[in-house]
C-alpha cells in the first residue's frame, strides 16, 4: 500500500545524484585539461625553463596575441584549404576506386598491390620529390594530402561494399536489376557506416598531409608557420600554431560525425540515434 509513495520518494532522491554524476562525467575531461595546464605553467616557472625548450601556457597565449588575428586567419585558411581539397580528392578518387576493387577480381588483383605499395611508402620522404615534380602552387600540396588520406577510405569502402548481405544481392539479381543499380541502391548505402568511420580517420590524416606539404613548400599555412617559427627560435608561437592544428583536427573530426548524424542517422550504432 505504501510502496508507491516510498518508491516515488526514493526515485526523487535518486534523481539528483544521477544528474550530478552525469555532470561530473561531462566536466571531468575539462578539469583534467585545466589541471594539466596549471601543472605545466607551474613547472615552467619553478624550473625556469627557457621558452625554446618548453614555453609556458601563458607565454604561448602572449605569442598568440602578438601574431595577431589577420596573420592567424590567413595561415588557418591556407591549411584548411589544402586539407579540404586533398580530402575531397581522396573521396572523389577513393570511392570509385573502391567500387572498381570490389566489383572486379581482376581489378583488385591488379590494383591492390599498387595501393599497398603507395601506402607503405613514407609520404614525408616523397613529399620533396613531389614538389620538385609538380612545381609550386596548390597542386603538390593537395596531392601529398591526398596520398596520406585516401587509403583508409578505399579499404573501408571496399569492406562495406563486400559486407552487403548475399541475400540482398540475390534479391537484386532476381529482379534483373543491373550491376550499376545494385551498387547505387544497395551496396553503396551498405558501405556508408564503414565509409564514415574511414572518413573520420581520413580527415585528421588530411590535416597531417597538409602540414607535411607545408613543411616542404609553402609561403602560408600553419605547417609553414611552425617551420618558420622554430627556425627563428620563436617556439611559443610554434606551439600556438600546433594547438590550433589540434583544435582544427578535432573540429573537423567532430564535423564528420555530425554530418553522418544529419544525413545518415540510420548508419549510427543503435544507442546513438
Amino acid at each position: 500500500m505504501s510502496s508507491p509513495t516510498t518508491s516515488a520518494a526514493r526515485s526523487s532522491r535518486a534523481m539528483p545524484t544521477i544528474k550530478l554524476k552525469a555532470q561530473a562525467d561531462r566536466l571531468a575531461p575539462w578539469l583534467a585539461l585545466l589541471v594539466l595546464l596549471l601543472v605545466w605553467e607551474a613547472a615552467c616557472r619553478l624550473l625556469k625553463l627557457p621558452s625554446f625548450v618548453l614555453p609556458s601556457p601563458s607565454a604561448i597565449l602572449a605569442a598568440t596575441q602578438k601574431v595577431g588575428f589577420g596573420a592567424w586567419s590567413e595561415h588557418i585558411f591556407a591549411t584548411l584549404r589544402v586539407t579540404l581539397m586533398g580530402y575531397g580528392l581522396s573521396i572523389l578518387i577513393g570511392i570509385p576506386l573502391a567500387i572498381a576493387l570490389a566489383s572486379s577480381r581482376l581489378m583488385s588483383r591488379t590494383l591492390y598491390p599498387l595501393l599497398v605499395i603507395v601506402q607503405s611508402t613514407p609520404i614525408v620522404a616523397v613529399a620533396p620529390i613531389i614538389v620538385v615534380v609538380m612545381g609550386a602552387g596548390d597542386l603538390p600540396r593537395v596531392f601529398i594530402t591526398f596520398l596520406i588520406a585516401f587509403f583508409p577510405i578505399v579499404v573501408s569502402c571496399v569492406t562495406g561494399l563486400l559486407a552487403t548481405p548475399e541475400e540482398l544481392v540475390e534479391l537484386s539479381r532476381s529482379l534483373g536489376a543491373s550491376k550499376a543499380r545494385e551498387y547505387r541502391n544497395i551496396r553503396l548505402p551498405y558501405a556508408i557506416p564503414h565509409l564514415f568511420s574511414a572518413l573520420r580517420i581520413s580527415i585528421t590524416l588530411a590535416v597531417i598531409g597538409a602540414v607535411v606539404a607545408e613543411f616542404v613548400a609553402a609561403e602560408k599555412g600553419l605547417g609553414y608557420f611552425i617551420n618558420f617559427s622554430t627556425s627563428m627560435f620563436q617556439v611559443p608561437q610554434a606551439f600556438a600554431a600546433l594547438m590550433m592544428l589540434v583544435v582544427i583536427s578535432l573540429a573537423l573530426f567532430h564535423l564528420i560525425g555530425l554530418l553522418q548524424k544529419a544525413f545518415f542517422p540510420w548508419s549510427l550504432p543503435k544507442a546513438q540515434h
Binding site: E167, E170, G176, A177, W266
Partner: protein, 267 residues
Amino acid sequence: MSAAAPNATPRPNISFDRVSQVFTSSDGSEVVALDNASFDIGRHEFIAVLGPSGCGKSTLLRILAGLVRPTHGQVSIYGSPVDGPRDEIGIVFQKPTLLPWLNIRDNLTFPMRHKYGRVTAQEITRGEELLELVGLKEFGNKRPDELSGGMQQRAAIARALLHDPEILLMDEPFSALDALTRDELSLELLNIWTQRPKTVLFITHSIPEALLLADRILVMSARPGRVQEIIDVDLPRPRSMETLTEPRFNELANHIRRKVFSRHADH
C-alpha cells in the same frame, strides 16, 4: 490422391527435368549439390522441401529462381525453360534482409524502385494493403531495426508479394524466429495463401511446419543432394494448430522422421 477426377490434376506449372548441380569447391573437389532431380509442381500447389543442411535445398530454389544455371537438366515454368530471373517469382530468405535506411513502407516498394527506378501509385496502394494483410499497418513509418525479428520477416513476405507473383519461393523463412512467432507466422502464411492462391516452394528444417503447410513434401537427402521421396500430405484443410494433434499428422511425421534418420544412420 483423387487422380480420377480430371480437374484435380492441373497442368504442372513448374517442372524439374533431371536437374543436377555440381559445384567445384575451392580445393578443387566436386560437390554434387543436386543429383538428377525430377518432379512437377502443380498450379497453386504448396510444396515444402525438407532435408538436412547441405542437401541442396537452397540450390534447388536458386535454380528455380533463375539465379543459378543447373549443370545438367532443365527447369521450366509454364513450359518455357528458365534461363534467368523472371517476373512471376517472389523470394523470401531466411533473414529478412530489409534495407536499414528505408522505412517499412519504402522497403515494401523497394524492388519496384530498384528495378524500374520508380514506383506507381498502384504499387503504393498495394503496399498499404499488404502492410495490413501482414499486420504491420501501424508500422509503415518505422525503420526495420525498430521492429522485432518476426515483424521484419512479415515485412519481407509483404515485399515478396508486392508484384503479386504467381510463384513464391521461401528459403527457411521462419527458422531464425522463436517457436511461438514461427507458429504464428506459419498460420498467417496459410491465411495469405488461401486468400491469394499461389504456387509456393517452402524450404524448412521443421517436420511439423512442413506438414502444417504443404500439399506435398519433397524429402531430400545429402551428399549427393537427392529428392528421396515426395510425400502427399493428405491432412484436411483448412489447417490450424489443431491439425498437429490429429493421428494422421503423427503418422506422417513419424514416417518422415524415419526417412530422415535412416539416412543419418548411414554416416
